[in-house]
């Protein structure tokens, strides 16, 4: 039993299934080798510390977010509309959660001093935004489809197009940082970061779906990206052995 909070006054979060979390030591992702721990992780009970976190009052409706308007005009590249919901494993909306996104520009270049890829910066594209999910857990933003770019992990290594997502969820235990990929990207089978996740279902969850419904005629393609956070156990159960 959970001696730290028994009986638990807050519902506990379910553990991740095998193969869902990427391992931190992943030799095919070279920079993981010297930055990943070697000792086994120590089980941490879900106490009030882990079951709380910064949460916010949700707006009634989706806050429109637009990354494509620069100080001098429209950012270059293919305009896209990304929308989705933050849900828990039981399909319940996670309302009022803080989401941050960042990405490369259409040419595959980040507005960052350490990005020295020989591709142009776009003075009208910074590539970041934040928002709070609405009462139904929804979010939506307009951006530019990010370009693929080379990196030095191995010979001729290229990252598939992706958008970084940071999501808080209701508690410290649900904090998530991940990447959204695009359907049909030919680089996905070669990417050690994407393929560090053993579960195929979990990998597929990281790929947005093309969405006819949110595609706007004569304007932009729509993509749908559902973010699913850990769900709560139905009944208080043993937490960790």
């Amino acid at each position: 039993m959970n001696v730290f909070d028994s009986p638990p006054t807050r519902p506990l979060y379910r553990n991740f299934q095998d193969g869902v979390l990427p391992p931190n030591f992943c030799p095919s992702y070279v920079s993981s080798v010297k930055r990943s721990p070697r000792q086994p992780l120590v089980p941490l009970p879900q106490t009030v510390s882990e079951l709380t976190g910064p949460t916010f009052a949700p707006p009634e409706n989706i806050q429109p977010v637009d990354l494509t308007k620069g100080p001098h005009g429209q950012a270059l590249g293919e305009r896209i509309l990304v929308s989705g919901r933050v849900l828990d494993e039981d399909g319940r909306a996670v309302a009022g959660t803080f989401v941050e996104i960042w990405q490369a520009n259409a040419a595959g270049r980040y507005l960052h001093a350490r990005d020295q890829h020989d591709a142009p910066l776009d003075p009208n594209f910074i590539g970041c935004a934040s928002l709070v999910t609405d009462t139904k857990g929804r979010f939506a933003f307009e951006t530019i489809r990010p370009g693929e770019y080379p990196w030095r992990n191995h010979y001729n290594a290229w990252r598939p197009a992706h958008i970084h997502f940071s999501v808080f969820g209701p508690a410290f235990a649900t904090r998530l940082i991940t990447q959204m990929y695009f359907p049909g990207d030919p680089l996905l089978p070669f990417d050690p970061i994407f393929n560090s996740v053993r579960s195929q279902t979990a990998r597929e969850r990281l790929i947005a779906l093309f969405d006819w419904e949110t595609t706007v005629p004569e304007y932009a393609l729509g993509y749908r990206f559902e973010i699913v956070l850990r769900g709560r156990q139905e009944t208080p159960m043993e937490n960790k052995p």
Binding site: W102, R175, A202
Partner: protein, 201 residues
């Protein structure tokens, strides 16, 4: 009927529980997205308690400082209470969240209020502590750890510290500077002989 609709109707029929979204690395360029919420000073005029400073270095396997890590903190106030009500303005009117990147020398520094011992309604008392998530290029999943304070007698009875083998507990203790007791040093060793204790949550 579109492909999307088909997908959704199939999705509704099959799983009781949705598959969870997994982690991917924060990568080398997280500053673009995360900088707006850098918070290296958690103190506020209306939050009482002892102001402390915690500084340290993040080291890799070769003991080379890591210049591109970001640490997130979550802590109780000096009474051991967490801000647990939804706030109106994100991160403006609540206490307890911090986010600080390491600098070129792999160092971070944060100013905060020393948390109190945490005692939830029915739980065992926990010694003052701060929860930490660590993200960086090279880490696919966040590292989770806790900062405790070397000068807290309650550490001896803390259930989480007691669950760790004794020789490794020291890695979670921020050491008070004898000359300046409200300054603490806490280093993170990602690997090696002094590897920090990281948790499975």
């Amino acid at each position: 009927m579109t492909e999307q609709k088909n997908h959704e109707s199939l999705g509704e029929a099959v799983p009781q529980i949705l598959s969870v979204t997994t982690y991917q690395t924060v990568g080398p360029y997280f500053k673009i997205g995360l900088e707006a919420l850098y918070r290296d000073d958690l103190t506020k005029p209306d939050i009482p308690g002892q102001v402390i400073e915690i500084a340290g270095t993040v080291f890799d396997a070769d003991l080379t400082p890591v210049p591109d890590a970001v640490l997130e903190l979550w802590q109780a106030d000096s009474f051991g209470r967490y801000t647990d009500q939804p706030q109106k303005k994100p991160f403006e009117d609540s206490f307890g969240f911090g986010r600080v990147p390491t600098n070129e020398a792999g160092r971070f520094r944060v100013r905060t209020i020393k948390p109190g011992a945490v005692q939830a309604e029915t739980s065992a008392r926990q010694a003052p502590h701060i929860l930490v998530s660590i993200f960086m290029r090279g880490l696919l999943y966040r590292l989770i750890t806790r900062i405790y304070f070397s000068d807290e007698p309650g550490n001896a009875d803390d259930p989480v510290l007691r669950s760790i083998e004794p020789r490794r507990r020291d890695s979670l203790l921020a050491k008070a500077d004898p000359a300046q007791p409200h300054r603490y040093e806490w280093n993170v060793f990602l690997q090696g002989e002094n590897e920090t204790v990281f948790f499975d949550l």
